[in-house]
């Protein structure tokens, strides 16, 4: 053991000519110990990496487990088609549609703000802005997504809603429009930063080809760079959609908490996330139908984001361009 004090690596040990026998046949106690230690550390690190899979299993398991008792009470047909969501009333109705519509309307408003603005900003930063401007503007815009969402909720209710009330007479204080607009501004950097990265990755020769044909910058950007970067741009759109669907505090504060079967963004309505918050604020006993209903709502939300992510995966594959 004292003969080869510092040789722990097998390659290094084999190279040492003073050791006559191959080291694998007579490993010293220290080397065996160090090998055990290495194995142990690797196992620990693997467990850490695997914990992320355990979290996913936990999420899916709990959602399925808790909502299965809900669906034992409530038929799936009622859940998907009933026009009312009143799980805490004396005579409860369990139609998820009002919440789903609320989620889709606020998401649509947010996307109507974020996708055009985010895309234009991305084209501007990638194709037009001087590098110094880009280096300042990009991190500044990214701060928009660092602001806590509860602060955005405050902003939507106390600033955006009064502002929109001046433009649209008769707009109630709580409405999906102001929540959606603020949410849209929040997700601008998700679209602009990722799309800009994708556009800048487009090879310069493609642009030079377009310029040589006499195209100007904007035509090149729209007809050449945008389609070439579409895979990455679609990924940023999908991320924006997932963010908007799952966003909670802005809609819980500014869009009202009443389930409302409407597609008019000027009206107040609860989203899936707002409903979960509202129920959690009360003190519902574990195992009651109200408690289970938030898991049923959660499953719906989870499936919606999952569907959009799968859609994004398919689109990304379709639009992938290789240079």
């Amino acid at each position: 053991m004292d003969e080869i004090p510092n040789l722990q690596h097998p390659v290094a040990a084999a190279a040492d000519l003073s050791v006559n026998q191959p080291p694998s046949e007579t490993p010293t106690a220290r080397r065996r110990l160090s090998r055990i230690k290495e194995r142990f550390i690797e196992a620990l690190l693997f467990l850490a990496a695997f914990s992320s899979v355990a979290i996913t299993l936990g999420i899916v398991g709990i959602l399925v487990y808790e909502s299965s008792t809900f669906f034992a009470h409530v038929p799936l047909k009622e859940f998907l088609t009933a026009p009312l969501w009143t799980p805490l009333f004396a005579s409860p109705r369990f139609g998820i549609m009002p919440l789903v519509l609320g989620t889709l309307v606020t998401t649509a408003v947010a996307l109507a703000v974020a996708l055009p603005i985010g895309t234009i900003v991305a084209i501007y930063l990638s194709e037009f802005a001087p590098p110094t401007v880009r280096e300042i503007i990009k991190p500044a815009l990214e701060l928009l997504s660092a602001v806590p969402t509860v602060v955005y909720g405050y902003f939507a209710l106390q600033f955006m809603s009064p502002l929109l009330q001046k433009l649209i007479p008769g707009l109630p204080t709580f409405n999906m429009l102001s929540a959606g607009v603020v949410m849209g501004i929040m997700i601008i950097p998700y679209v602009s930063s990722l799309s800009e990265d994708a556009m800048r990755a487009v090879p310069m020769s493609l642009r030079e080809g377009a310029y040589a044909m006499g195209a100007n910058r904007i035509i090149t950007a729209i007809k050449v760079v945008y389609p070439a970067a579409l895979s990455g741009i679609v990924a940023s759109y999908i991320l924006a959609i997932s963010r908007a669907i799952g966003e909670t505090m802005i809609v819980a504060i500014a869009a009202g908490m009443q389930p409302n079967l409407t597609i008019d963004p000027r009206e107040p309505a609860a989203t899936i996330t707002a409903f979960i918050v509202q129920v959690s604020l009360g003190d519902l006993p574990h195992g009651s139908i109200g408690y289970q209903s938030i898991f049923a709502a959660g499953v719906t939300l989870f499936i919606m984001t999952l569907l959009f992510n799968i859609l994004g995966y398919i689109l990304r594959k379709r639009f992938r361009e290789v240079y």
Partner: protein
């Protein structure tokens, strides 16, 4: 010839117009951020004083403060960092340095990418069902911190991997050539060299966790709490106590949410005050992260 000039003029005009449009759209984002900060400051600055920071919430708006909620935020962040940092960094090291290319590694990688897209409130539901009820841990600082740790785990893992990836392969080979074991390479070379990048990611992740409200409301955090958790240090042996882990809690964003949804305008001012504290802490964390990133980039030249 004049046709040609007209076409060129038209195209230049198009470019100019789009340039203007781009600047306007960029300004929409920047000005909204400015409006938000100014609005919050105008409303909240009047409430921001020493008593506000050292008082418990109250039924009377002018006497209410954020003592219990900022202490709660601090303790929750402590638990979150203690859970997410070792776990996330270890996972990052495994995936970048140890993992073999097989289906299991693929599964873990796809899974981490998907976890990053799961809405935060879903993490709250998972923690409510699993930690609070199945494991019977109850709603306390420990479960709150763990919930947020799950939430930011993907961010920490991705940041660690990116930091490790910037280290040139030659560093690893040099260490192996001197007889280092894999763990020695990681421990003595890769971890110190990637520290800057990893720290940036960790700080960004924590700044995100500080503002998270929905998952903590979902697991049943209190919205009104007029006492502090037991102190972590005791006068008699063993001097440290972990009792605070089992204490009920509230956090700054929940306190703000509670105040903002009241009709009384005085409480809305309190909400602005709490929001101001929250946003200053968040922006400071982001500034620190940007600074570290900048210094690391400048110093390290491989």
């Amino acid at each position: 010839m004049s046709d040609f000039k007209a076409i060129i003029a038209k195209r230049k005009r198009q470019d100019f117009l789009f340039n203007i449009l781009g600047i306007i759209c960029t300004l929409v984002g920047i000005l909204t951020l400015a409006a938000l900060l100014v609005d919050l400051f105008m409303d909240g600055a009047t409430r921001l004083n020493w008593t506000f920071l050292t008082s418990f919430p109250s039924r009377f708006a002018e006497r209410a403060g954020i003592l219990s909620s900022w202490v709660g935020t601090l303790l929750i962040m402590l638990v979150t960092a203690f859970a997410a940092v070792p776990l996330g960094v270890s996972a990052g090291i495994y995936l970048e340095e140890y993992a073999r290319r097989n289906w299991l590694t693929n599964l873990i990688e796809i899974n981490i990418a998907n976890l990053a897209g799961v809405p935060s409130i879903i993490y709250g539901l998972m923690a409510l069902g699993l930690l609070v009820y199945q494991f019977r841990l109850g709603t306390n600082v420990l479960t709150g911190g763990l919930t947020l740790a799950f939430l930011i785990l993907p961010i920490v893992i991705v940041a660690t991997r990116e930091a490790l990836r910037t280290i040139p392969q030659g560093i690893r080979e040099a260490a192996y050539a001197l007889g280092s074991t894999k763990w020695q390479v990681v421990r003595h070379h890769l971890l110190p060299y990637s520290l800057g990048g990893t720290m940036t990611g960790i700080i960004i992740a924590l700044s995100r966790a500080i503002g998270e409200t929905a998952p903590l409301i979902t697991i049943g955090a209190l919205t009104f709490i007029a006492f502090l958790p037991p102190p972590p240090i005791k006068p008699q042996p063993p001097f440290v106590s972990l009792e605070w882990l089992w204490s009920p809690f509230s956090v700054l964003p929940i306190q703000m949410f509670n105040w903002v949804s009241r009709p009384d305008q005085d409480f809305v001012l309190n909400a602005a005050g709490a929001g101001l504290v929250l946003i200053v802490v968040t922006l400071l964390l982001n500034a620190v992260a940007i600074m570290i990133r900048y210094r690391v980039r400048k110093r390290i030249k491989w």
